[in-house]
Amino acid sequence: MALDMKTVLIASVLGLFSVLPLMAEQASQVTVTEPWARASIGSRPAAVYLALTNTSQAPATLTGLKADAAGHASIHRTSTDANGVSSMAPVGEIILAPGESIKLEPGGLHGMLMQMNAPLKKGTSVDVTLVFSDGTEQPVEFPVLGIAAKGPEG
């Protein structure tokens, strides 16, 4: 019995190693530039921003975010109507055609981290993983800028 368990364990570890390089290869179809996060206070929501370019020949569909630092992570869009009223709503999938780029930036799309385990402190960084529809995951490290930051340069 013990031997069986060991075999299973070895098999699964080997299996994991054979899948990992494949995942990394698939994930590299989308190039990430200018990632940054805004410092946050207490458990209040935090926002992360970045630019994405699909460098592959096939469409890439971003379906969500994962972050250990937050209880819940998703992509939101801020929009402002004709009366100047701003609202925020979760965005479903974001489909990037081959060669297409999008920017998550203040006042538009942003990665929203909710139920923060700890506030994001300026000068640190936060890891957020992009999840794509084909199951690939792309980890991104976001440098944390000040609360008053408006772009990747601060």
């Binding site: 206070i41 926002a47 402002t80 009223v85 006042g107 942003h110 008053a148």
Partner: protein, 198 residues
């Protein structure tokens, strides 16, 4: 008789022009503008724990805007924009009062506001009031807000994101839209500061 008919035509033309003028004024009448600060009736607590009213702002030019500290995107950007404008305006805006009114007073206590505004220009004040006072303030600004979502922790607030600018006599000068480029926003603030009072 001929003179009379000329006169008649003249009167008809004048009436027509008046009617056109009236119609045009009806068509282009501006939307409701914010009240003067002196006419607003609400009271709140600022981030230092003082009781404050809009009348306290009289004597200085003032910027008022709505927001909430659980807002991760629009509100810090607006505060950051304002901080940049104040810096660019230098001495011109030395006496400017900048008032951030929370639309989420149940989470944004004066203590929470104090921590939040400490990250921005020291002129930024955070005002927090009861729902009744908030509603009166928002109505006086001809603005809107609403709560979105039932979750006790994760709800969001939709709100007017304009910055309302008032002259030192409390008259409403202009408003700056969210994300209005700096090259438009700054001249608007300068003009409002230099305009004769109304």
């Amino acid at each position: 008789m001929r003179i009379l008919s000329y006169l008649g035509a003249g009167v008809a033309a004048a009436v027509f022009m008046l009617a056109v003028g009236w119609w045009r004024s009806v068509q282009t009448s501006p939307p409701d503008l914010p009240l003067r600060l002196g006419q607003m009736a609400f009271e709140m607590t600022d981030h230092r724990g003082n009781r404050v009213t809009p009348q306290d702002l009289l004597g200085s030019p003032a910027m008022l805007f709505l927001g909430y500290t659980y807002c991760p995107d629009v509100c810090p950007t607006t505060l950051s924009d304002i901080t940049d404008w104040l810096e660019a305006l230098g001495d011109t805006a030395r006496d400017m009062r900048v008032v951030f009114i929370t639309v989420d007073p149940s989470r944004d206590t004066p203590e929470a506001m104090a921590e939040y505004v400490s990250y921005f220009d020291p002129r930024v004040e955070g005002w927090s009031g009861t729902k009744g006072n908030l509603d009166r303030a928002v109505a006086a600004l001809r603005a809107r807000y609403e709560r979105v979502g039932d979750d006790l922790e994760e709800y969001a607030m939709n709100h007017t994101a304009n910055v309302f600018l008032f002259r030192s006599d409390g008259s409403y000068a202009t408003s700056i839209d969210y994300h209005e480029p700096r090259e438009f926003a700054l001249p608007k603030v300068r003009r409002a500061l230099n305009e004769p009072m109304k």
